[in-house]
């Protein structure tokens, strides 16, 4: 019976090629927009996580801190939970590092009479404590220790970046919702048009003893096929765009810890299943209304 329904559905799809092609392209565009947002979140989140992974707390010491103060401070930081290791960076080493980073412009630093940089500890944190909240608590604890001038771990930048991501996430959810409704109505309308064009045929089917299930089944299959093909069109377009972006920008981004990634197989399957669910719902809405009349 199912093979009969599939055959009928394929025959009907073939019979309304133009209408179905438009439906597939429209669904494809909706899926493309939603999946683009998903891909954007995926990569910005991965980028944020890679920054968080490399997170280091820089503890700047007061100018008058003595050798004894330093040892004491190092000991106290070491006793705190979540510390992986501590590296002392003297003010001279810091200046050398700065000169190296400034390369050709390092000559600007030659005229300095005094080294303005403070001594510092570079504190690395164990994997399990690299969450932003935990780092913030740790940084606050360190900042409260004597002889500590300032503690810095890129908190302002990360917080701002996280905020931007959450705004995009909100916009993404809102657009996802809108496109969900749009896709639902596109499929419902396509099926409705087909139903109206075959009103007489459906009436005849009823008169010869067909059940509603027999009449409905091919339409559900049509809806599922249309939405599956639409989502494939959207995802393939996204993948093509992804490959183009990757070949153009990955080299110039030169991010060692971060690689632009595509949706995982699970996520692709989720998009496909979600789209098919919408297709099924669109059919349900049309058929319910049509067969009632």
């Amino acid at each position: 019976m199912i093979s009969l329904f599939i055959k009928k559905a394929l025959r009907d799809l073939n019979g309304n090629r133009f209408l179905n092609a438009i439906t597939i392209v429209t669904i494809g565009l909706s899926i493309l927009i939603i999946s683009s947002f998903a891909l954007f979140f995926l990569n910005t989140n991965a980028l944020l996580n890679s920054w968080k992974k490399g997170i280091r707390v820089l503890v700047y010491l007061e100018q008058d801190a003595t050798e004894a103060n330093r040892l004491d401070l190092r000991y106290q930081i070491q006793q705190m939970a979540g510390i992986q290791d501590i590296l002392f960076v003297s003010k001279d080493a810091a200046l050398d590092r700065l000169k190296q980073q400034m390369q050709s412009q390092s000559a600007l630093l030659e005229n300095l009479k005094n080294n303005p940089l403070p001594d510092a500890f570079e504190v690395r944190i164990v994997d399990t404590s690299r969450e932003l909240k935990k780092v913030a608590v740790l940084a606050e604890k360190i900042a409260s220790l004597p002889q500590v001038e300032e503690v810095e771990y890129g908190q302002h930048f990360i917080a701002r970046f996280s905020h931007v991501i959450s705004i995009f996430k909100f916009v993404g959810y809102a657009m996802g919702g809108l496109f969900f409704i749009a896709t639902l109505f596109i499929i419902a309308n396509t099926i409705r048009l087909v139903l109206y064009s075959r009103k007489e045929e459906i009436e005849i089917m009823r008169l010869v003893g067909a059940t509603d299930r027999f009449i409905k089944a091919p339409f559900y299959i049509e809806g599922l096929i249309l939405s599956a093909l639409g989502s494939m069109v959207g995802l393939v377009t996204l993948f093509t765009a992804y490959c183009a972006v990757l070949s153009k920008f990955q080299a110039s981004l030169s991010l060692e810890m971060f690689k632009i990634q595509f949706l995982s197989l699970d996520q692709i399957f989720l998009f496909l299943a979600g789209s098919m669910l919408v297709g099924w719902m669109g059919c349900y809405l049309s058929l319910k209304q049509f067969l009632k009349s």
Partner: protein
């Protein structure tokens, strides 16, 4: 023997009104198993309305109808197929699906019952042979003459081996020869055991018939 137990269709005091206009008035009638009955009368007499009531195409305003023991007023819409599978319907305008071939139009009845493709192939070919349309099985309805289309409609009506055949002016649009062929086909299926209710306003068909003839006029049975 014509007893109440043998009645396949029982109609008790049935009235049907469209808005305030009566189409059938207080009709009572029994149609017996393997009977061939003509339902005659002028246009607008209520023949089609009566047939529509029997296949649940219309509801009734008053009275009761039993078809093969089923009280049609108690059949919910979603169970209408149970009754319709006991009935084969033939229309004056054939009601064939233009996008399906002759074979597909007939096979639809058996597919709707969920029967296997092998059985369907065999059964449809057999019916097509009986109505003399086997060589046109791949044709589409609109490429056939009126008489040929009605033969296909007859084949579709009988392929599911229904107990009852309801023919609503099946010869109304046909020439004399084609009408005769359709009548003969229905007689054949009647002889094979079907109960036939044949609505017609063609006096020539009923003039010398040995079958029972029921006359309807302005919604009432004429004595």
């Amino acid at each position: 023997m014509k007893t109440a137990e043998n009645a396949l269709i029982r109609i008790f005091n049935v009235s049907k009104h469209y808005a305030s206009k009566p189409a059938l008035i207080n009709i009572s009638l029994d149609i017996f198993k393997n009977e061939f009955v003509f339902l005659s009368g002028p246009s607008g007499a209520g023949k089609s309305t009566l047939l529509k009531i029997l296949y649940l195409g219309e509801g009734i305003t008053d009275g009761q109808v039993l078809v093969d023991g089923m009280n049609i007023a108690r059949i919910p819409k979603q169970r209408a197929h149970v009754l319709r599978r006991k009935v084969g319907i033939i229309f004056q305008d054939y009601k064939l699906i233009p996008g399906k071939t002759v074979f597909q139009n007939i096979a639809l009845v058996l597919e709707a019952k969920g029967l296997g493709q092998r059985f369907i192939q065999k059964k449809v070919h057999s019916v097509l042979r009986t109505v003399g349309m086997e060589d046109r099985k791949t044709s589409y309805p609109l490429s056939l003459s009126g008489g040929e289309q009605q033969k296909v409609a007859v084949a579709r009506a009988v392929v599911g081996e229904p107990k009852i055949i309801l023919a609503d002016e099946p010869t109304g649009s046909l020439d004399i020869d084609a009408a005769k062929t359709i009548f003969e086909l229905l007689t054949t299926f009647h002889q094979r055991g079907a109960t036939v209710l044949f609505a017609t306003h063609d006096k020539a068909l009923i003039r010398n018939t040995q079958h029972r003839v029921i006359f309807l006029k302005q919604g009432r049975i004429q004595a």
